[in-house]
């Protein structure tokens, strides 16, 4: 399935584009393919422990991937992965 990945403007210097597509069967695979396509994203989205950075949110469609009980969920054509720069502080 083709999954659309969107990144915030601050990361466009890393990716060269705000939107790109990856082919994947599950959410997990979509996240892996995202990093394969744009390896420069890894350091910006994940810390040294492998966790998503505290002020980064990654959505699979409308769901924060942190909240998914499993990321082995099959994806459907037209699904999206959206990286969001979390609103942090005032």
């Amino acid at each position: 399935m083709i999954v659309t990945v969107r990144v915030p403007k601050l990361l466009v210097p890393v990716t060269g584009t705000g939107v790109f597509e990856v082919e994947a069967a599950t959410v997990t695979e979509a996240l892996e393919r995202m990093l394969d396509a744009q390896p420069g994203l890894r350091v910006h989205l994940y810390d040294e422990t492998g966790a998503i950075r505290p002020h980064v949110r990654i959505f699979y469609n409308d769901d924060d991937v942190r909240w998914l009980t499993s990321t082995d969920t099959p994806v459907a054509e037209g699904d999206s992965i959206t990286v969001v720069q979390a609103v942090s502080g005032g």
Binding site: K9, L10, L11, P13, V14, P39, G40, V43, H44, L45, D47, E48, T49, G50, R53, H55, V56, Q85, A86, S88
Partner: protein, 341 residues
């Protein structure tokens, strides 16, 4: 000459010959350090409260490409790369100082980086704790005559020297007041902010600390206070103009306040090796000015030019080793780093 200026919200490049300022580079990113690599390309370090720290490279200071390689702590460990604070280069080797405190080296123009374990795994490391600005290795000095002789400054920890290219390191803080004593280690707890080395006599080093201004004449074996004439002994940068041996600091009133004493903002200069200090020349404002200069935000070209940026985004320069100062007409975001390229 080009002066690279890193701010909380991007980088700018100031051409002193044409008196022109570039458009912003990487707007929105905190830009913390610059260097020129041996191959003539330039490296720029960015950070972000959201997206961590990384490096960019450019051949022309206009088009910047992200680098996959950067200083990094091992994956799965408990140390995080919070910020790349500074670079220093000797020949083909670039050193980077980072928070959480560490020293990394690259011998391929910044493509790959290796941990300098002699300092990063120093026996005193269990006693290193962050200061107000974090646990940062933020200053690196290299002996220009003997590049295997290095000094690093780590906030709330102190100055360490290596005489063997970084394999082993020894604390060099005798004579300096302790700011953050360690329960377990007697030779750490010194909060160094700024360091400047005399390239013509690398045993002479000058030091702005959290609690005083110091100098050493023997490469750090023994430090002595050198602050006569300063209105405050707190501050961040310490820069030497090698052509005149003039030293520059920007004194602030105490750790607690961190403001120019009485609102009289000025760079101070010593022309006698730190024996005495006074306001540097002319040009600083008569009107109350409550701003400060961070440790990476002052740089000299060793030909009489000294440049600094303030936390309120103003930029000052002298071309005559501090006889006269001029304030640029433009205002940038909070200035973190100033580098002569």
């Amino acid at each position: 000459m080009t002066i690279a200026i890193g701010t909380d919200k991007g980088a700018w490049f100031y051409d002193t010959d044409t008196d022109t300022l570039s458009d912003p580079v990487l707007p929105g990113w905190r830009v913390t350090a610059f260097t020129e690599a041996a191959d003539g390309s330039y490296l720029l370090a960015v950070g972000s409260n959201w997206f961590g720290a990384s490096l960019y490279r450019s051949d022309d200071l206009t088009d910047w490409e992200p680098l996959l390689g950067a200083p990094a702590w091992p994956e799965g460990g408990d140390r995080k790369l919070n910020q790349i604070w500074t670079f220093a280069r000797s020949g083909d080797t670039i050193y980077a100082g980072v928070d959480e405190a560490g020293l990394f080296r690259s011998d391929d123009n910044g493509a790959t980086w290796q941990s300098v374990d002699g300092i990063n795994e120093h026996p005193t490391r269990p006693g290193w704790y962050p200061g107000f600005g974090g646990l940062a290795l933020h200053r690196i000095l290299i002996d220009p005559r003997t590049p295997d002789r290095l000094w690093v400054g780590i906030s709330a920890v102190g100055v360490f020297r290596s005489d063997d290219g970084g394999l082993t390191w020894t604390s060099k803080n005798e004579g300096v007041a302790k700011t953050a004593p360690s329960k377990d280690f007697d030779d750490i707890g010194f909060c160094v902010h700024g360091l400047a080395l005399d390239p013509d006599d690398p045993n002479r080093i000058y030091r702005q600390d959290h609690q005083g201004v110091y100098r050493t004449f023997d490469g750090g074996e023994r430090w002595e206070r050198a602050e006569t004439g300063l209105p405050g002994t707190f501050g961040f940068p310490m820069v030497m103009d090698a052509s005149t041996k003039a030293l520059f600091v920007v004194p602030l009133e105490s750790d607690e306040r961190r403001l120019p004493p009485g609102g009289r903002f000025a760079g101070y200069r010593s022309t006698d090796g730190g024996d005495t200090w006074s306001v540097s020349g002319t040009g600083f404002p008569e009107a109350p000015t409550y701003t400060q200069v961070l440790r990476g935000a002052m740089a000299g070209d060793n030909a009489g030019g000294v440049h600094f940026g303030t936390t309120s985004g103003r930029f000052w320069a002298t071309a005559d080793a501090g006889e006269s100062w001029h304030e640029a007409p433009w205002t940038l975001p909070r200035i973190l780093s100033v580098t002569v390229l």
